[in-house]
Symmetry: C2
Subunit: 321 residues, 2 copies
């Protein structure tokens, strides 16, 4: 099959053996895959990943020896493949299994390919009538829904730092969950999209320590210090940013202001699918570019510096032979 392979910092399409189904897993024909900030970080060396990146996808089950009735099903997929047997898994935290692989991130080839493999238990049916352009956002919307599963946001003043792909989704999801959300960003265009939907926005304002919860979705190692300056004493900073490499930091403000910092990663697919199906979110409006697998480098370049800053999402479209 064709696949985009990251090796030694270089990303290019090449021939690669198709994944074979192991017991309990299915092979999926990928239809559409999204480029995420984490993919850009992987290309910059994050996790030391070598292989096929990509973890946001919608596809169709092609091979499923343990569930032949599911072949042909249109699915999205949770990206953590857990062992199911360890204390962490049986304790209810399979997304944190120490032996897990993670689609396109850790020990498992991902979605920038004609096919991928995932455990059947990870696959959720796309509701009838949901467009592929919307379904491809289930994974990042689930990541946004992880925040209200960890931190009480209803009725609280929440600042989302970063109006990029994930920041905008977090802002919209937290608003749906009853938070009083403001978004701060550097570029006016994505903020304008949010403002048009009634979300208060800030550009380059002086931090005032007035927010109960601050979400760092900047994708930058500098975002954390900024988040700490916006949070009230004893407030909460939610970290969504992961970066390749160390950056100079000082954690003294966390101690002095007795902040609570909550790391937040992958989230629950159920509320994400339900919200997208109901039209509560329509993130397909942020799609700015569509690229073939052969043009994966162009897709990453677009995601890094979108020509339309209000439409930052780059998609890889797989046209099966």
């Amino acid at each position: 099959m064709r696949a985009a392979v990251l090796r030694g910092g270089v990303l290019q399409a090449e021939e690669r053996p198709a994944p074979r189904p192991v017991p309990g897993e299915a092979v999926i024909d990928v239809l559409l895959a999204g480029v995420c900030e984490t993919d850009l970080q992987l290309a910059a060396g994050y996790m030391g990943f070598q292989g096929v990146p990509g973890h946001e996808f919608v596809g169709r089950i092609a091979v499923a020896p343990d569930a032949p009735a599911r072949v042909g099903e249109l699915v999205v997929g949770e990206i953590n493949a857990a062992c199911g047997a360890c204390a962490t898994c049986t304790g209810g935290l399979p997304r944190h299994c120490a032996r897990r692989t993670v689609l396109g991130i850790l020990g498992r080839d991902g979605a920038f390919a004609e096919q991928l493999a995932l455990p059947l238990a990870n696959l959720h049916a796309v509701p009838p009538g949901m467009a592929l352009d919307r379904a491809v956002f289930v994974e990042p919307v689930a990541a946004a829904f992880e925040i209200p599963s960890q931190v009480e946001v209803s009725g609280r003043r929440v600042l989302v730092l970063g109006a990029g792909r994930l920041g905008a989704l977090c802002a919209r999801v937290l608003r749906l969950c009853g938070a009083d959300v403001t978004v701060a960003g550097r570029r006016p265009e994505p903020l304008a999209l949010l403002a048009a939907d009634g979300v208060p926005t800030l550009v380059a304002a002086a931090p005032d320590r007035s927010f109960d919860v601050v979400v760092d979705a900047t994708g930058s190692p500098q975002g954390f210090a900024t988040a700490c300056r916006w949070a009230r004493p004893r407030g909460t900073v939610v970290l969504k940013t992961t970066c390749a490499g160390d950056a100079p930091m000082n954690l003294a403000p966390v101690v002095i202001d007795e902040l609570t910092v909550v790391g937040s990663r992958c989230g629950p697919f159920g509320p994400a699918i339900a919200t997208l199906a109901s039209g509560g979110l329509a993130p397909e409006t942020t799609i700015g570019g569509r690229f073939s697998l052969e043009r994966i480098a162009d897709a990453f370049a677009y995601a890094r510096a979108p020509s339309d800053p209000a439409r930052r999402k780059a998609l890889i479209e797989i046209v099966l032979a």
Copy 2:
């Protein structure tokens, strides 16, 4: 009066005007003051502090125009002097008042002097019969009691990183609060003191991600990364360490393991005084050196590198003229 003054990184005893009581405050004759890791950090540039450091003390009220009956009272003191009027103060968090001064740390001369001033509301009577050598530990014991006021520890596996002054107090306090406490440190002597009291200890073990709560009391910017490696997924890291200056860090493990990081600073004096009065803690056994104000530099040198590593506490004894 004589006072130890920190100016441009140099700490030395000199003449200084005695503090005058402002409305609501008292002037206290200092009897005994403890040297803390924060003092060493201040000398290294933390907070940019210039003036008289020192915030752990026991003393006697000398002047109190608003409470003449309290003159002569033996007291310890909470170190945050709040405005009492702002939303943070009236909201119940005076220790986080944005306009606060902090004894020997921020905008207020401290305890390495013959006299200091604090609001009357900050002063707690030393219980009858409590030795000065024990009373001088009320402030750091209160800081240890801040942890169980923020994080559930009873019945949970807690690792304290660092068996220094604060680490040892945290370990003992958390144990009294019902935690299953282990202490990890680099030096065998302070660990041996804890082990003799039945606290399990670790030296240079490989992190195993098995602890519900990890307390970073290392005093080192490297402690945080180590703490993250010992905490279980979704576990809690309590930060007690504040350092001068930035250090290279990567917060990705916080996100990946969805850790909760809780900054922890000053704590409640009530449980600290009660526990010390009851003999539940006897930290005076860790006193390793006593120095006059004139020998403040020797006291700091002792605190940095105690000749008896099991007795790391340096005290400043004020002998009033």
